[in-house]
Symmetry: C2
Subunit: 453 residues, 2 copies
């Protein structure tokens, strides 16, 4: 990742703090919409509102739509509904919807009351789609033409359009029933003769998705086929919109963030981690799993009380035995979870993957077991320490092998059963790996050291 | 993430295993290039080569370029150099370079020997750029026009181009010194009069980057400005290429994968985890950090031998005390690392972030400490157990608070000093959180239980 980006001087924040409104106004004139938007993203509502007031009315809509939807939504909710409606009126329907999804129910109703009936209809239609599907991220604006039209007709239509779609690089060819029969790039139109019919110059195979396709699959298709726009059809096969590649870019980031947060048991969205309560809500249940698991571990180990009383040094190596297992388990499960997410797992070669991971667990386990075991011997160098060292070594190796196995199989099994494997790397697996590893360690100790168990 | 995608039937693999070449050939005819490519990605070399031989020569280049570069490179290295050169000859220079970067040094030289001198020059020029910069992912093919040209001239140029760039949606306007002075979308050309000069219709503010800009910053700019192509200039400000949005889509995925793997101490690329040795190389050093840290923990706790001998139950709760800390630390550092990566951290409000995380650590620590502490009391219900329960409770709370603090501050400090904060969530921090948490727990025990320390 780039570090420079996050360290860029936040001029707006600095000038706001210095209360230097004259210089702030000049800075705003100098910065472009996207630069202002990305600085606004990281300010609090009061500051955001103050900056908005300093901007001319013409610039505001573009700046709002360049902000992250997670920051633009709450900001809009803070404005007077009329003011918010005025801003939204200038946006493309899909951008407006993205933002409105983060406004909250009561704010949404108040803002919709202020908009034109036509706009409201369009927005409500889009809002009806699940936010995480093709329908939820598509734009209903695109160029469409009949197959019988000529290239000249299509060009004339483009020329006549006063408010063209944001990304107008293609003309979609639909029949009388609104079914997609082809697509023409603008370049094709430009290099064809005006008299040719669209049917003769169009591309016939059009990759498209249905409106209820998951946004991650949409992103995958756009990425695989190198598209700049993907047509969306309804349940009857009628074209209802297009997903632009710039929305896909947002989706990919969003889904990666979701996976990363889920893997750490820290919720699904960065926005919810911004407030104390949001963060608490997102995080407590994962910790509950770890707390219950850890307490269960303490209980299941309680039979080894006596062994611990006889050889307290056993306890000293508990953290490293469990920790090495936890780390290997985390490595294995992360590789599997991410591999599944980006389609880089040979799903028909599960056996080979499990074998590879487990043998890594064995080899690394023996190597690090030897290292940790020897250090335990050096720490307490007598005859019994030799046996203690051996227990620590084999305990580490066993814990790491078990962890590699559990860390590999859990996400693979979850994927098979249709559960999101990203949850497999969370506290739950870490804790179960801890318990299994330590049980093995103490079992070994009771066998080899002849202590109570 | 979508689960369906990874579960799609791998027809090619199934038919290969059944040795049913007749049906395989028919299946290949029915599948499109991208579908074949994505199934090839997950086969081994022998199978990939066999499928390539079944395909017509015309289809091969497109299929190779639709494969992941991490799989296409090694596959190319397995082919005869002449055959590889024949395939590459059909690709755009930037796609060829992406694949060649994964071929290996000796393979690369042999393949380049088979290509035309012109192609080699172009490829070597692109190979000279760092793979992770704008130069490394740009394409040298794009439409360019002088500001004095007319709209008609530009359209004529587009019409005359026999091998147009893959994504030709814009014409870039450059002056005599190759400096970018503007850009025209094809739509602008279509709606303008043929006699108008480009200077009069072009957009003057062109967002662009220099060739050495990090690819993650490129992705960020393309995402922020909703671009489909971003012009790249050299050190003298001369335009040398464009980065297409479809390459950016790959970059975003790649960088997310890199962050995820780094956070788990499992390397940087999924490709390196495919082989036993690659995986070993990527992972061992992180585990070394954990092993050394864990051993250091054992040593630093060894002063508490006596306490453990007197109250062996203390040991039973070590895993949960350390584990709860590790989990909270992982949550905090993940939120910070990902927030920094996508620019969702209020970098000028560090104090507030640290305060929020630490208070979450305190609140959740007290809550879970109470839960775990009570269960320890119930397990050994006598007067001393009340004190043990209190030690376990406060130990958990302390460990979680310390972890939240360390997990939050480490990535923030690393970011300040220019180190990639993604390494902060790896085994190193987990281990140090373990040690600090347990030291606190034993210190507390020696104070409150009056046992040796």
């Amino acid at each position: 990742m780039t570090i420079t980006r996050t360290r860029k001087i936040q001029v707006i924040h600095t000038l706001l703090r210095a209360r230097d409104l004259r210089r702030l106004r000049r800075a705003l004139e100098r910065l472009d919409d996207v630069q202002i938007a990305s600085q606004l993203d990281n300010l609090d509502y009061a500051d955001q509102k103050q900056v908005l007031q300093l901007l001319t009315a013409e610039r505001r809509p573009e700046i709002i739509s360049s902000m992250r939807e997670e920051s633009a939504g709450p900001l809009l909710a803070q404005l007077a509904p009329q003011e918010a409606a005025l801003l939204l009126d200038e946006l493309e329907a899909d951008d407006a919807v993205d933002i409105l999804q983060h406004v909250g129910q009561s704010g949404l109703r108040k803002i919709l009351e202020q908009l034109d009936k036509d706009d409201v209809d369009e927005i409500e239609e889009l809002l009806a789609y699940d936010q995480n599907t093709a329908g939820g991220i598509m734009s209903p604006h695109y160029f469409r033409v009949a197959p019988e039209a000529t290239v000249g007709d299509a060009l004339a239509m483009i020329q006549a359009e006063e408010e063209p779609p944001d990304t107008a690089f293609h003309v979609y060819v639909v029949d009388d029933d609104d079914r997609i029969v082809g697509v023409c790039s603008l370049r094709t139109l430009v290099i064809s003769l005006p008299g040719q019919t669209i049917r003769d110059v169009m591309e016939r195979d059009v990759v498209h998705v249905s409106a209820d396709t998951d946004q991650e699959e949409v992103a995958d298709i756009v990425g695989r086929y190198d598209l700049v726009a993907l047509p969306v059809v309804d349940a009857y096969g009628r074209m209802v919109g297009i997903v632009d590649v710039d929305d896909v870019v947002d989706v990919i980031r969003e889904e990666a963030t979701e996976d990363i947060l889920k893997m750490a048991g820290a919720g699904e969205e960065l926005a919810e981690t911004r407030s104390f309560y949001g963060s608490l809500r997102a995080r407590w249940r994962w910790l509950l799993a770890a707390a219950v698991g850890g307490t269960a571990a303490a209980m299941s180990l309680s039979g080894y009380d006596q062994a611990l009383a006889q050889v307290p040094a056993l306890a000293l190596f508990m953290p490293v035995v469990a920790g090495m297992g936890g780390n290997v388990g985390m490595q294995s499960s992360t590789i599997i979870v991410r591999g599944l997410a980006v389609g880089f797992i040979e799903t028909h070669r599960i056996k080979r993957i499990v074998l590879r991971e487990v043998s890594l667990g064995v080899v690394m386990g023996l190597a690090y077991g030897l290292l940790i075991g020897s250090s335990s011997y050096l720490l307490h160098a007598d005859v019994d320490a030799l046996r203690l060292g051996f227990v620590v070594m084999m305990g580490t190796a066993g814990s790491m092998t078990i962890a590699a196995f559990v860390g590999t199989c859990t996400p693979l099994l979850l994927d098979r059963t249709g559960v999101d494997p990203a949850v497999a790397t969370g506290p739950f697996v870490t804790t179960s790996v801890d318990v299994l590893g330590l049980l093995f360690y103490f079992w070994l100790a009771s066998r080899l050291l002849g202590v109570g168990g």
